[in-house]
């Protein structure tokens, strides 16, 4: 009879042999008293070894409880998740097409705003002009007394009016130009703002991942510094009164 090797029995008692080998060994031990003795000896040694236990050394059980430690940690985790959500929304919505849609929607608003600005600057410019007009009409009053002077004044006034109108047309052209320039400027600003926002979103997600690792580390520290931690707040409380 071919007896299995002690190696095979060692493998067997530690459940490391495959199913067919296991079946063979069990069939053999059922009919072979010598191998039964060998197997029993290995099993006995196994149970004796098991009697040599050591106390659980600190960390093994603690490391499992990595995250939920007190309500503040859960709150911090929730805040982290919320921030993550915000960052994701920002990143997802930051597409080019949405960018353009916002631009077209903003365009009339910018134009309106600039037109209002132009109107107010027009009135500002108009006021001194009106003043000069009234200044010009003042000398017209004595002109009624002298018809020649009146005629002269009228031509002068007409002349003044054409010059004034030309001036205004010029002003208007300059203003329209300025408005267009401003509009371009604003659009550029807007685009820069968008890209800045995107950068912020990216930095935030970066920061988030770092915070995440900080949080996990914090959890580890909270767990390992279990004992030294509680006395600290007490000392503070004592110090206050």
């Amino acid at each position: 009879m071919n007896h299995p090797t002690p190696e095979a029995w060692a493998e067997y008692v530690y459940g490391e042999c495959d199913a067919p080998t296991k079946a063979d060994l069990e069939a053999h031990v059922a009919v072979c008293p010598a191998c039964r003795v060998q197997l029993d000896q290995f099993r006995r040694i196994q149970s004796e070894l098991t009697a040599y236990t050591l106390p659980q050394i600190a960390s093994a059980s603690r490391s499992i409880r990595l995250l939920p430690r007190g309500p503040w940690l859960a709150a911090a985790a929730a805040a982290g998740v919320f921030l993550l959500g915000v960052a994701t929304t920002l990143l997802i919505s930051g597409g080019q097409n949405r960018d353009e849609a916002i631009q077209t929607r903003l365009k009339p608003a910018i134009r309106q705003e600039l037109e209002a600005l132009m109107a107010s600057s027009n009135t500002l410019r108009a006021t001194p002009v009106q003043l000069t007009q009234s200044d010009a009409t003042q000398p017209e009053i004595p002109s009624t007394t002298a018809p020649d002077a009146n005629e002269e004044l009228r031509t002068a006034f007409a002349e003044f009016l054409t010059v004034y109108r030309n001036d205004r047309a010029e002003d208007r052209a300059v203003l329209a130009n300025a408005i267009q320039q401003l509009e371009r400027q604003r659009r550029a600003d807007y685009i820069r703002l968008r890209s800045d926002l995107e950068t912020v979103a990216l930095t935030t997600s970066d920061q988030l991942s770092r915070t995440r690792s900080d949080l996990s580390q914090l959890a580890v520290y909270t767990v390992s510094d279990d004992r030294p931690n509680p006395p600290a707040p007490k000392d503070k409380d004592k110090g206050r009164p």
């Binding site: 002690p6 190696e7 060692a10 493998e11 000896q41 006995r44 070894l49 960390s59 580390q217 580890v220």
Partner: protein
């Protein structure tokens, strides 16, 4: 917050050993090192305790193993298991320690006094009565001495297999030897243990033997 959410959050925040080791390697990340230490300090300290037969020395060696892990972090290759790397470091330290001990003293380890320190406080206090506890202490001391009598290359295989539940293949990876050698060392180690334990434990009586046999080894595996 539901338990499921907490669980998924926890998974989100948990690094694998290999990930942590990668971070330690590439950026000297202290947090990753703390995580690894938190996870592995217990198992490594127990391994060193069983290899040296002394709880305090075991703790010191575990500490030293983590120092070595940090200084040798660039030697770790990502294709290997982190645990194998760490077990190997710890076993090498235990080996150096026992060599130093042999040189320091002519007295072999197994002939130390019966009441050597470090053993009485090692024992789990789950024994129901004082006399049984004393008996358990004695059994544990006998087993501890039996392990120390084993040549080191048998002892490391038996300890990794029995107390840390490593597969034979994993032990081969840790020790850098073929699977077949691990098998023969395990069986030879068990047989040598049997030769020492059988007469010594016979003195303790049949009652204790019966209780010891009823215990399930799985409950005490630590990993």
């Amino acid at each position: 917050m539901s338990d499921g959410l907490l669980q998924s959050l926890r998974n989100l925040f948990t690094l694998t050993d290999e990930q942590a080791m990668w971070r330690l390697q590439h950026s000297g990340d202290g947090e990753a090192f703390a995580t690894l230490m938190e996870r592995w300090r217990g198992p490594i300290a127990r391994l060193c305790t069983r290899m040296t037969g002394d709880a305090h020395r075991g703790e010191d060696l575990a500490q030293e193993a983590f120092l070595k892990l940090y200084s040798q972090r660039h030697q770790y290759r990502a294709e290997g298991r982190f645990s194998s790397f760490l077990w190997r470091i710890a076993l090498n330290l235990c080996h150096d320690e026992s060599r130093r001990n042999r040189r320091r003293s002519e007295v072999p380890l197994e002939s130390e006094d019966e009441d050597q320190p470090g053993h009485l406080d090692l024992l789990a206090d789950d024994a129901p009565s004082a006399s049984e506890q004393v008996e358990d202490n004695e059994r544990a001391q006998i087993v501890s001495r039996a392990l120390l009598r084993l040549p080191e290359h048998y002892r490391s295989v038996v300890v990794l297999k029995h107390y840390h539940g490593l597969k034979l293949r994993e032990i081969a990876e840790v020790l850098g030897i073929p699977d077949g050698t691990v098998k023969s060392r395990l069986s030879e180690g068990l047989q040598q243990l049997g030769r020492y334990l059988t007469p010594h434990l016979a003195e303790l009586g049949n009652v204790a033997e019966g209780r010891g046999r009823n215990r399930k080894p799985e409950e005490l595996f630590i990993l």
